[in-house]
Symmetry: C2
Subunit: 162 residues, 2 copies
Amino acid sequence: MVAHVTPPEALDWDVDNCTISRAMEILGEKWTMVVLREIFSGIRRFEDMRVRTRIPRQVLTNRLSALVRAGVLRREPYREPGARVRHEYRLTEKGFDLYPVMIALAGWGNRYLADPAGPPIQFVHWDCGAELHAELHCAESHEVTGHRDVLPRPGPGAHRRG
Amino acid sequence: MVAHVTPPEALDWDVDNCTISRAMEILGEKWTMVVLREIFSGIRRFEDMRVRTRIPRQVLTNRLSALVRAGVLRREPYREPGARVRHEYRLTEKGFDLYPVMIALAGWGNRYLADPAGPPIQFVHWDCGAELHAELHCAESHEVTGHRDVLPRPGPGAHRRG
């Protein structure tokens, strides 16, 4: 119970151009990552997602449109025999690049929030079948495992607060 | 524009015990990751977070309480000279374990959403100062870089849909 003497250095810096908050403008809604999980799992059609996830129809429509607008998903037309043209949702390159986020999130969820039997979905290495996880590495190729090895600091685009 | 013949295998499996959606129940709100970014950056006090992030007071109160309830943050009392006891927010072990999620998210944001000057925050390796990023590795120690190397499949807790 000791009062700070020096205020944290981060207080000197602006957060207006923060890419974490910009990423969360796109992903920061509970159902958005669930929609992406569906698509990463190979479920690409509106009705399939709706039935499996029980996301309300209008919410699902809005989430999918927002992800298309953000360039994370693209719409691909298809037609079942005798039916009208519908659309499937596919990941763009920007969408596939969310794999580390998805797998890091699943790793944390599996550690703290899984049922005793374990999680219902796994991400494995296609070649060898072993389970995937996200690791932190630095640009000098060191693996970083402890939180004391991480230093948050102002980046190249940091603006001093006025 | 070819219609599916085989429905995706994921349709056979339930998502009720999914740890990604459970993680997003905790993290799936835009401001939550922003609050965590503040705390990862060393900003631990309500007023400092409020001024820097401009999150409305009531929203910030709710987000912090939810993160304490979820076991991601803990409250630590402190007292400035002449003032009443207040609380700082600190990461628990469960909170620090969100570093891979935070850094994977920042990596994606930096790639697609940064200003030309770059992001305002960087996470670097304490020892060598080189920037950190999240990599996907499998349990057999192979690094996985392409999305075609990832296979999502039913995990140990998968339930067949009724």
